[in-house]
């Protein structure tokens, strides 16, 4: 029964999210048409291309036809996963983006695990020991952490731990050595991952710790906590089973709402550390005027945000029966 209702819920949410993605795609199309100059200039960018090829491309995209025709061609291309060709990278845009996706996912997942685990633990501890040195520190750090520009935080960490202390590599995802065993390779990537993941995690952790603390304080005063205690179960079970799971619910919501900010943070962090993911790809695309990649990134991130929102909705529903069973 539970599994079935969750399934139905996910389907419902999916249907609700389709129009948003559709609108992002349409907006993307019209922005290029609104931009000054010939749309073809944005599709080719600065790449040197023969005139006949340009003419070919023009007819393929229907640029000589009406705007509706162009839109239909664009939509049918996008529906088939075809976001055009990057003349800078000399590869289909979809291919370029997908090849960069794993690096970004690795970075995002690592930082999420770190930020959520540490953030919740810090939040719970500072709520349970309200007014302690730890509590004051966590509160202060979370205020400052919220105001920090994430790319500057990355630069400062790089300056400190890479330049001055030489503990971690400053750039890239792998050392430029050829002969590495698979195990060495994993450690090498992990070594490169530390600073960028830490940068994003600190930024994210500030918010999570602050929220977890506030919610925990609120939940610990509620009646059902007294009832749980009256059953004679251990204090640990009261705090971590009864209180924490309720206190985490709003944190899940905020993590979901904040995913856009986090993807932005990832773009900036990847740029700082030359991490070869989607963010760095965006940065390079800007510099090379690789517009097809930029356009596709906009749609792609839109889809990513929608998927991420869906995942947080599912987690929320899984944690809260009131949502799941409605």
């Amino acid at each position: 029964m539970t599994a079935a209702s969750l399934y139905r819920y996910v389907l419902l949410r999916l249907v609700q999210l389709v129009p948003v993605v559709f609108l992002i795609i349409i907006l993307n199309f019209f922005l290029i048409r609104l931009a000054p100059g010939d749309p073809i200039a944005y599709i080719i960018g600065d790449a040197p291309i023969a005139d006949e090829l340009v003419a070919d491309l023009r007819s393929k995209l229907g640029l000589d036809g009406s705007i509706t025709q162009q839109l239909l061609i664009y939509l049918s291309n996008v529906a088939q996963g075809d976001f055009g060709f990057s003349y800078v990278s000399r590869a289909p845009v979809t291919e370029v983006i997908l090849s960069r996706l794993p690096a970004t996912l690795l970075l995002m997942i690592t930082q999420y695990v770190l930020a959520i685990a540490v953030g919740i633990v810090l939040g719970v501890l500072s709520a349970r020991h309200q007014g302690s040195a730890l509590d004051v520190t966590v509160t202060a750090v979370s205020v400052v952490g919220y105001a920090l520009p994430v790319f500057w935080l990355g630069q400062m960490l790089m300056l400190m731990f890479s330049m001055k202390l030489g503990l971690f590599p400053a750039q890239g995802m792998m050392s430029l050595r050829y002969s590495m065993t698979p195990v060495e390779k994993v450690f090498d990537i992990a070594h490169h991952l530390v600073l960028p993941a830490l940068t994003l995690a600190i930024f994210n952790l500030a918010l999570i710790a602050r929220l977890a603390r506030a919610n925990m304080l609120q939940v610990l005063r509620l009646e059902y906590i007294i009832f749980a205690r009256s059953k004679g179960i251990s204090e640990r079970a009261v705090v971590y089973r009864h209180a924490l799971r309720n206190a985490v619910l709003p944190v899940v919501t905020v993590i979901g709402l904040n995913i856009k900010t986090l993807i932005t943070g990832a773009v900036l962090t990847e740029t700082v550390f030359a991490w070869p993911g989607l963010g760095r790809l965006t940065f390079d695309a800007i510099n090379a005027r690789d517009y097809p990649v930029l356009m596709a990134m906009f749609v792609f991130v839109g889809i990513l945000v929608v998927i991420a929102n869906l995942i947080t909705d599912i987690i929320y529903a899984w944690l809260d029966p009131r949502i799941r069973l409605q």
Binding site: V20, L23, I24, L27, N28, L31, I32, A35, P36, Y42, V143, V144, Y146, A147, L148, P149, F151, W152, Q155, M156, M158, L159, M163, A170, L211, R213, A214, L217, Q218, K260, I263, T264, V267, L268, T271, V272, T282, F283, I286, N287, R289, Y291, L294, M295, M297, F298, V301, G302, V305, V306, N309
Partner: protein
């Protein structure tokens, strides 16, 4: 009908203008008092005031202008260049002053724009409700789900980086949050007795919206708006950092972008502009926290 029945003091249509003004003044004083009780918020306000003064007087403090080349390349911080010089010999202290000026300008103007659009949309949607509310809320929803940073990046990249364009884009991307907040307030306030009373007196919709509801609905909008100034500043800096800032305006983000290649040789090129950015947003965040505590005291208890 007593004032208590109308449940918001100072907005009674029949009271004389002077007593309404006095009540408003009392309320402002009470909020100011609450605000100053909060030492962190006061610290933030001083920090912010200091930076605003420095930014305003930048042309007097540093008459050379931000792009003037006044020294050797990558000179260390010292008596001549407090914050050192950058890779082409520009004074970083001067750059930070002008960059702060740009940040503040972008932050304030874009949020003013977001407020202007957001307040109109939110007030209309919340006051009239029904179909127009439905339509406006669909539009704001789309703006809220949109990956704003990428849209801004994309727009600035294809339409060209120009400071007014950046202000416009950030403003366009931020109004939806304001509109939603204000709409929610309007929805609850429009049924209150003091609004019904004003309607019974035959007041026009516009007067009711502006004179009766808006003053009581504006607190959360002010708090959200002040936080948006910080996020707008960070967004502008991020655009600059990715290399799509206005090349004719000094920007803290662009300074950090230039510094990226010289971190190893010249720590000062990256430290000072970032610190300025950080203090600016910290000041705003603290002030906004203080505003939140003094304008919405109920939330304080929870520790949010």
């Amino acid at each position: 009908m007593s004032e208590a029945d109308l449940d918001v003091p100072g907005t009674l249509p029949a009271t004389s203008a002077s007593s309404a003004a006095a009540a408003r003044r009392r309320r402002v004083m009470r909020n100011w008092h609450r605000f100053t009780m909060n030492r962190l918020a006061l610290f933030g306000l001083l920090l912010l005031a200091g930076m605003i003064i420095l930014a305003l007087f930048a042309p007097i403090i540093a008459p050379g202008g931000p792009f003037g080349i006044g020294g050797t390349r990558l000179a260390e911080p010292g008596a001549r260049h407090w914050f050192g010089t950058d890779h082409i010999g520009r004074d970083i202290f001067t750059g930070v002053l002008y960059g702060t000026r740009t940040s503040l300008m972008v932050g304030l103007l874009s949020v003013l724009m977001a407020l202007a659009i957001g307040i109109v949309v939110g007030a209309v949607a919340g006051y009239y409700g029904g179909r127009i509310d439905n339509l406006l809320m669909r539009v704001t929803e789309i703006f809220q789900v949109m990956p704003r940073f990428f849209l801004a990046l994309f727009v600035v990249a294809i339409f060209g980086a120009n400071i007014w364009g950046i202000v416009f884009v950030i403003g366009i991307l931020n109004w939806a949050e304001i509109a939603r907040l204000l709409r929610a307030e309007f929805l609850t306030l429009r049924e209150r007795p003091f609004v019904t009373a004003a309607r019974a007196y035959g007041a026009r919709d516009l007067d009711i919206i502006v004179m009766e509801i808006l003053p009581n609905a504006i607190s959360p909008v002010i708090v959200a708006g002040s936080l948006q100034v910080a996020s707008a500043i960070l967004l502008e800096a991020a655009l600059g950092f990715l290399g799509v800032g206005d090349p004719n305006e000094m920007s803290l983000g662009s300074m950090l972008n230039n510094a990226q290649q010289y971190i190893r040789q010249a720590w000062w090129t990256v430290t000072f502009p970032g610190l300025a950015l950080c203090l600016l947003t910290l000041g705003i965040a603290l002030v906004s926290d203080g505003l939140n505590d003094s304008l919405n005291p109920r939330l304080k208890e929870v520790g949010l």
